[in-house]
């Protein structure tokens, strides 16, 4: 019984860490330009595919990971530049619809380039500690044995730790650096920040770059333990979006907490009734929003114009 709960808790934390990484991308962009960037799930998917392609041509994993982050950061900024920047002063709905359009375009682009068939990271080229197994003699390789006969693969530990480290780095970036200060200023009042000499368009581009790089990491992590498909961004993206809303959209700590809560709710929901696995996550989200409409960490201020 306890062994099972412990194992589910670990499953939920690993899943939640991934949701948190994706949710941060939604929430950062929303915090600054009040846009729900629906294309974010697709950037996450591209992150996985780019890493997969790099590894397929012989790039070591530890180079493919940052390179994919970099390329996705550029992709994120590029999307902002071509699709959202021209609509900065247009009604918010225009930008939202554009975001949905970009999301569909990227998804279909991926389907054209890489086909709809699921792909996996070739295990031969991955760092050996990602390949956990239990041998016939019961020896556990590259994993932590759990009470109850299960194992916790080092890969999952790595996913969770990486998510935690990236979140700490992100918080340091936002609260301790100049660009972070500029971001916070823009989030508070874009016009005033601009008047104070902050180049708001550059700050927004930087926000897209950071969110996209984190999304790419999440994509690669999911690709490692699951599969890479053109629609992978949709499924995890929707859950991560729910996480961002639950935590209070616009708040980074909210996205992190929201991600973990959704991850754990999904896992224990599956334990209660597997057919409604994802529904439990949304029920939790709806309950939280009913009690606190702005989310766990959201500020209950009136909407800016």
């Amino acid at each position: 019984m306890w062994a099972q709960i412990l194992e589910q808790l670990i499953n939920g934390l690993v899943l939640g860490g991934i949701y948190a990484l994706i949710a941060v991308g939604y929430t950062m962009v929303y915090g600054i330009i009040q846009l729900i960037n629906f294309a974010h799930g697709e950037i996450y998917m591209f992150g996985a595919y780019i890493a997969l392609m790099l590894i397929a041509v012989g790039t070591p994993f530890w180079i493919a990971l940052p390179l994919s982050m970099l390329l996705c950061a550029i992709l994120g900024m590029f999307i902002d530049f071509i699709a959202y920047k021209p609509l900065r002063n247009a009604p918010r709905l225009s930008a939202l619809i554009t975001a949905i359009g970009i999301s569909l375009a990227l998804q279909n682009l991926a389907r054209m380039i890489w086909s709809a068939r699921p792909r996996q990271f070739p295990s031969e080229v991955l760092p050996s500690f990602f390949l956990s197994e239990v041998t016939e003699t019961g020896k556990v390789i590259n994993a932590v044995p759990l009470p109850g006969g299960g194992i916790l693969p080092f890969r999952d530990v790595f996913i969770f730790l990486l998510a935690v480290v990236l979140m700490i780095v992100l918080n340091m970036l936002i609260y301790l650096t100049k660009i972070g200060k500029a971001m916070r200023a823009c989030a508070q009042n874009q016009v005033a920040s601009n008047l104070m000499g902050i180049k708001t368009n550059q700050v927004i581009a930087a926000t897209f770059a950071i969110g996209s790089a984190l999304g790419a990491v999440a994509g690669i992590m999911v690709g490692l333990s699951e599969v890479v498909t053109p629609t992978m961004g949709y499924y995890k993206g929707v859950a991560a979006f729910a996480a961002a809303v639950l935590g209070g959209i616009g708040s980074i700590s909210g996205a992190i907490v929201g991600g973990i809560v959704i991850g754990i709710a999904e896992v224990f929901g599956a334990d209660i009734h597997s057919g409604y696995r994802i529904a439990f996550a949304y029920i939790i989200m709806i309950l939280v929003i009913l009690i606190r409409p702005s989310g766990i960490f959201g500020k209950a201020t009136s909407k800016r114009a």
Binding site: M1, Q4, E7, Q8, N11, G12, V14, L15, I82, A83, P86, T98, G101, I102, L104, A105, Q107, N108, L109, R111, M112, S115, A116, R117, P118, Q120, S123, S132, E133, V134, A143, L146, G148, G149, G150, I151, P153, V222, S225, E226, V227, T229, T231, M232, Y235, E266, V267, F268, G269, A270, D271, S274, G275, R277, I278
Partner: protein, 403 residues
Amino acid sequence: MRNWIVVLLLVSLVTVWGCQPADKTTDDTETDTQDAQQELRVAVAAPITGSAAAFGDMIKKGALLKEKEINDAGGINGMKLTLLFRDDAGKGSEASLVAERIANDNTILAVVGHFNSACSLAGQSIYDRVGIVELSPGSTAVNVCEGSKWTFRNLYRDDFQGKFIAQYIDNVLTELESVAVFFDNDDYGRGLRNAFVAEIENTELKLVASEAYERDTTNFKAQLTSIKAKKPDAIFISGLYTEAGLIVKQAREAGITSQFFGADGIDNADFLTTAGTKAAAGTYITTPFLFGADDVKAQEMASNFENLHGVPPDTWAALTYDAVGMIAEALEKTYKPEASIEDKRSAIREHLAAIDTPEKGYNGITGLTYFDHNGDTVDKPAYVKIVKDGKFVAADKQLTGKN
């Protein structure tokens, strides 16, 4: 300003382009109706894209081989057989759109497909309304043919398959006592699970867990942890190969050592690549057809297939090959160029419906096919395969018994 309009146009162009069905080239031929005078057109509806795309690939290859063989031998009464491939992406919602397009195309005489049960069911009412034959080489859900005089299939139903799997585990794998079911929550997965669970009551087996998942799920850890707590000797996966591959892989990681059993939805080589050959080793599956080593006809088809496509055929390629053959035979016997399209289509239906005894049966490579009053195939057996050395091979013990 102008710049971004151009960019936006480009983006929308990519979107529209990407949304086009993969069978764009065959679409173009649709417009020249003149050709339709000399050629006989049959649609093949299959999951060319989506998570069941590996099935669609084999279906297309099997159909192409039969088309080539027929045309190389002079066609059907001197007329050329042309197959038009239509993509339903393995989803019922897409299938209705595809079916609507096929039914309203007056040059198409019959449909081979759909593959997924949900797709065949979605197409059924549309084909019924217009009056065009739907011959499925892969749908096994119980109610696919029921209530429709236009729907046929050339393989067994899931009520037989589910029962067969329970019987096999009970009678052949006697060391297994408790079983868990992990099923895809769609027409196919649910129907097969229900048949399996119903038969468990009649055996010595004990059902200890029954968990569901949604199509396109990629993380099964939560359900697997629940299943593990019940310590089943065997886990029956009632679903398709992509999800099943991930389930087996993640189950082994979670320390589950149970025997895995699957059905024909897993009968694709992509199952092995997704799960990894080590995790997949020893998995049993059922299948409607085996390429028997001493089956001359099947071996000949297999070698022709490999010459044409460079890969060996699988079960679905074989069943589609036979389905196209059956439609071709019907065309050969009933096609009258002067008849109206409605008459041409219903003549095919009459021909198939008349194949109702073993004597009149169509003798294809997958065995003798003949239909009952529903359009279901009677008397085709199920076989068992096991994963050995990274390949599906026939299991040592087969269970005789037909549906």
